[in-house]
């Protein structure tokens, strides 16, 4: 048997109806904000009479502040739901009585699409009984499979199973200590005790933790809270323990620890189809752990993968979080000959350049000094006139007794710089 509790007004709390239903059975299904369905199988021991069970539901609903609860018990889900929505008070439908009780109820309760409701209105159908009384074959001929389905619903016939609405998942584990602990070493051991069950719970639900919050209640009653978001979600307790310890090394609690709570932010587990023919991909867990160990570089924005920026401004780039995408063969051919690279000076080094006949003949800058023995240029470039304008005149110069350098004259400031060494 199924039950339905319907509230005419939307309850103040979204979970109020679900909480009420879960007092009776864990198998409950939310049907919109105002109705909840209950699977009442197995409750006959506690309430031998369905009417008594119905009254208990009404009393519980009133106790939870619902003014005029509508409760219906029936042998199909749809009948219980429609009777609760359409009839006031308590309705108990015995087996075979559903169609009779549903017949006077308005057709709108089926939640029809506007064009379908309009069609039925033009056919002169007003109640569920009107629809239930039509021949199934005729409805199928006019509406296709949808017609007989609606007719069955109007008769309270429904063989679809109840789809339970699960309570929100909380991935949390706590440990209250008898004696406060100080230092990272004992804490490492205790972290393993809370992280391992948490990891097992996550794995059992096919989840990983995208972020983990560690709360340490200290002896001075304050809470030391740290939230970590690794490069890749993981459910491995060992990885989380390492990440937390690395973080606590740099952000230690100021007092002894009295209680530990870890809370995970779950994310669906990844499913990756590996290939025998492609290169092995790095383990996300190990990558996250490695990046955490390099935190002093990555946190300061000094570590990651370089990304080119869509601009002509020389030397423009961005540093992004290092998260290599799944391998795909690189487009284009590998350059046949090795390319001369630039060892950039950041920022470019100010230089004093002697010029003769419009060409540089002597360069002096930090680490670079000598006569120019050969040169190529000038090559002019400019851009960003709408923002921070730049305009430059570039030369590649071979400096006697040194190397080949790229120098440029800032045409807006009329100053020379060494951009880098060609190596």
């Amino acid at each position: 048997m199924f039950g339905a509790v319907h509230s005419v007004r939307v309850p103040a709390s979204a979970d109020a109806l679900l909480a009420l239903a879960r007092e009776f059975t864990p198998r409950v299904e939310a049907c919109g904000p105002c109705t909840v369905l209950l699977d009442l199988h197995g409750l006959a021991r506690a309430w031998p009479q369905p009417a008594a069970l119905g009254r208990a539901l009404v009393d519980a609903a009133r106790a939870r502040g619902l003014d005029d609860p509508r409760v219906a018990l029936a042998f199909s889900r749809v009948a219980a739901r429609l009777l609760a929505a359409g009839r006031e008070g308590l309705t108990v439908a015995s087996a075979g009585q559903e169609a009779q009780l549903l017949a006077p109820l308005p057709l709108d309760l089926l939640g029809l699409a506007p064009e379908r409701a309009d069609l039925f209105r033009r056919w002169g159908l007003r109640t569920l009984g009107d629809l239930a009384g039509l021949p199934g074959g005729g409805l199928a001929a006019r509406l296709g499979p949808e017609g007989p389905r609606l007719r069955r619903l109007a008769r309270g016939e429904d063989d679809a199973p109840l789809v339970p609405t699960l309570p929100p998942e909380r991935f949390e584990c706590a440990l209250e200590l008898d004696w406060p602990v100080e230092g990272l070493e004992p804490l490492a051991f205790l972290l393993a005790r809370v992280l391992e069950p948490l990891g097992q719970t996550l794995a059992a639900r096919a989840r990983r933790a995208a972020a983990l919050t560690l709360e340490l209640r200290l002896v001075d009653r304050s809470v030391h809270r740290r939230t970590l978001k690794p490069a890749a979600p993981t459910a491995l307790a060992r990885t989380w323990r390492t990440l937390l310890l690395l973080d606590l090394e740099t952000h230690p609690p100021r007092d002894a620890v009295q209680a530990i709570t870890v809370r995970a932010e779950p994310t669906p587990s990844r499913s990756v189809q590996f290939s025998l023919l492609d290169p092995a991909q790095p383990s996300p867990e190990r990558l996250a752990e490695t990046l955490a160990r390099l935190q002093e570089w990555t946190a300061a924005g000094r570590g990651g993968s370089a990304a080119l920026v869509d601009t002509h401004r020389p030397g423009a780039f961005a540093v992004e979080t290092f998260s290599p995408a799944p391998f795909a063969a690189a487009a284009g051919e590998h350059p046949a000959a090795p390319r001369l690279g630039l060892r950039a000076f950041r920022p470019p080094r100010p230089a004093r350049v002697s010029v003769a006949a419009g060409a540089p003949v002597f360069v002096t800058a930090a680490g670079v000094r000598g006569a120019v023995v050969d040169r190529a240029g000038p090559w002019r470039a400019s851009g960003d006139w709408w923002d921070v304008a730049w305009s430059r005149e570039e030369w590649d110069v071979a400096v006697a007794g040194s190397g080949v350098y790229r120098i440029f004259r800032d045409r807006l400031r009329d100053e020379w710089f060494v951009e880098g060494e060609l190596d």
Partner: protein, 237 residues
């Protein structure tokens, strides 16, 4: 000529070796358990080294300014990242040029770039520690430690530093490449490549419109740097 079945079998065995799927099993017939060298992408240098840089060893590439040290290291990284593996560049002086590297074929998404030069990342001790972390992870096929311009400070590092890194890397299929101005250190079977610029190639006579087209370089390796090879580095267009 071998049959198609034999070709397929050989390819599969090669794949299994490469993926290390039978690491605990007995050697396959005719299997060479020595790790394959890491090709540099420069034919002449690979010929000089007998196939490329040895894995599981500290190798070094050194030379004066504009001798092609960076170009050779970028070529190694380009070849590595384009094959799908990961590379790391520990840039102690923040001199790496991403645009030039991308033009040389580096897949920047597969290159972890650690930039020194800022107060929070200054000091070779930190860079060496980061290299240790990178090698310990086993994720990277090649790690470049760029020490160009840091010769004095690099020589003041404890001598055990390089031994420790060599011990850390020797059981891994990773190559650690030290870039420097002069010889610094290399593993017992690691390569030491000394580079020297020969001459620059320019387009035409001096004057407007002239371009730097390339740089001829000589690489020397082996005991007493007795073996030499010459190649050209092409300037970016």
């Amino acid at each position: 000529m071998s049959s198609p079945a034999a070709t397929v079998k050989a390819a599969l065995e090669d794949l299994l070796r490469h993926r290390r799927l039978h690491a605990d099993g007995p050697p396959l017939r005719g299997e060479d358990l020595r790790p394959r060298p890491l090709a540099t992408g420069v034919r002449e240098v690979d010929g000089l080294l007998g196939g490329g840089l040895p894995r599981g060893q500290v190798s070094e590439v050194h030379g004066p300014a504009s001798s092609g040290r960076t170009a050779l290291a970028v070529s190694i990284v380009a070849r590595t990242t384009r094959s799908g593996a990961l590379a790391a560049w520990v840039d102690t002086a923040d001199r790496f040029d991403p645009a030039g590297a991308a033009e040389a074929g580096v897949d920047l998404r597969r290159l972890l770039w650690l930039r020194g030069g800022a107060p929070e990342t200054a000091g070779l001790g930190r860079a060496v520690s980061a290299v240790g972390t990178l090698l310990g992870s086993g994720l990277f096929e090649v790690v470049v430690l760029d020490l160009v311009g840091q010769g004095g400070e690099a020589r003041r590092l404890p001598g055990a530093t390089w031994i420790r890194l060599q011990r850390q890397i020797e059981r891994q299929p990773t190559a650690l490449v030290l870039l420097g101005d002069a010889h610094l250190a290399h593993g017992p079977s690691g390569a030491s490549i000394a580079l020297r610029a020969l001459c620059a190639r320019w387009s035409g006579a001096p004057g407007p419109g002239r371009l730097l087209q390339g740089l001829h370089v000589e690489a020397r390796s082996g005991r007493q740097l007795s073996r030499a090879a010459r190649f050209e580095l092409v300037a970016s267009s």
